[in-house]
Symmetry: C2
Subunit: 221 residues, 2 copies
């Protein structure tokens, strides 16, 4: 195994609960109330798919313009709920370890560049880190495009990549990309939800992953 492809929100930065509450509020404002726990389970899909899932949930079709407006409003509410971003425990150490060990890594996020920027900044990444965001691919998770774009830019084969993510959408996208995946509980899913969605291993957070990284058989490039 030669490379690790990370999800961003809930995997490296502690943002899932603010994302959830922001979407919950935006959908309620738009008279499309979706209960919090169901919103939580939609985080990590693209905003477009999320609004589609929410419209299915309440049984009403949304126009493209409505979906776009909801996503813009989510960006506003999210920023007001979470003006600063906090890396998850061990995230900075894990990325530093991979960098210093010459193990390739990349980040693939369903977020748009503007939403992701503050989170990426909080991670203090090496300047040459490969980041693929929503705007770079046609279809976000659970489609495999984001992870395949990371893999191509890393110059490795899919079978040589681990995907690390907190949501079932990461794990499904990994399977479809032909990659093994690792689940983290730091996005608030239960352990079995992640195992059932295909996670090869489940750790609490980046800190636990780092402490057990020998279990992954990664090698330097």
């Amino acid at each position: 195994m030669r490379a690790v492809i990370f999800d961003l929100d809930g995997t490296l930065v502690d943002t899932v609960y603010a994302h959830t509450l922001a979407w919950w509020q935006v959908l309620a404002e738009a008279d499309m109330p979706v209960p919090g726990w169901k919103v939580h389970r939609l985080i990590g899909m693209s905003g477009g798919l999320l609004t589609k899932a929410a419209s299915h949930e309440i049984g009403r079709e949304l126009s493209a313009a409505e979906a776009e407006r909801l996503q813009a409003r989510h960006g506003e509410v999210y920023k007001s709920l979470l003006p600063t971003r906090t890396p998850l425990p061990g995230a900075l150490d894990l990325l530093r370890h991979l960098h210093e060990s010459d193990i390739k890594f990349a980040i693939g996020t369903s977020g748009k560049r503007a939403d992701a920027a503050a989170s990426l900044e909080a991670l203090n990444l090496p300047s040459d880190t490969i980041v693929v965001d929503r705007t770079a691919v046609e279809r976000a998770k659970p489609e495999p495009d984001l992870f395949l774009a990371c893999q191509e830019r890393l110059g490795v084969r899919p079978a040589e990549c681990y995907v690390v993510g907190d949501a079932v959408w990461d794990l499904l996208a990994a399977r479809r990309a032909g990659m093994l995946s690792i689940g983290l509980l730091s996005g608030g899913y239960g352990e079995e939800e992640l195992s059932r969605a295909g996670a090869y291993r489940v750790y609490h957070d980046p800190a636990e992953l780092l402490s057990l990284i020998y279990q992954l058989g990664l090698r330097a490039s």
Copy 2:
């Protein structure tokens, strides 16, 4: 089975994500950062136990005054994040069904009366509903006191009561009270987390519980 004792937050009203984000923010402000997913798993304990668990998490003791101040601050932030309360799908119908069917029910919440008041109001309860809150007992969940106080006031035996809750703290308190329990996913736990903590059945939310209520063998008093 003759009675149903409900938890409030996450079981009848959709408040868990606001509670989580409020505690997350208050703990971060106090320089006691605890990741969101760990805060989420503490919701439903008393505020006192929650601050104790958080202080354990960061490895620093809190004075009683500090713990009290954090709880007061949580009340403020929570109210600002969630000015109005939303019943979970089916909550009003379920309570109405029990009332009209002469099946006894009560509510036992770890929240203090002021925090719980707005949630109770949103449920539009019959005026004689038995509600036992944090202030009525010495120790909140996962101690069994809240549920035992409900059971005594309902005039039934513990073995005749179901507890319905969304958090493992409800399910643990139910076991200690000698009651069967039912888990709801509407607080954001995974299904297996609730089953393993002792839930006899797990439903999505009050609406699903109501649609399958024949599975519970409840009878009128």
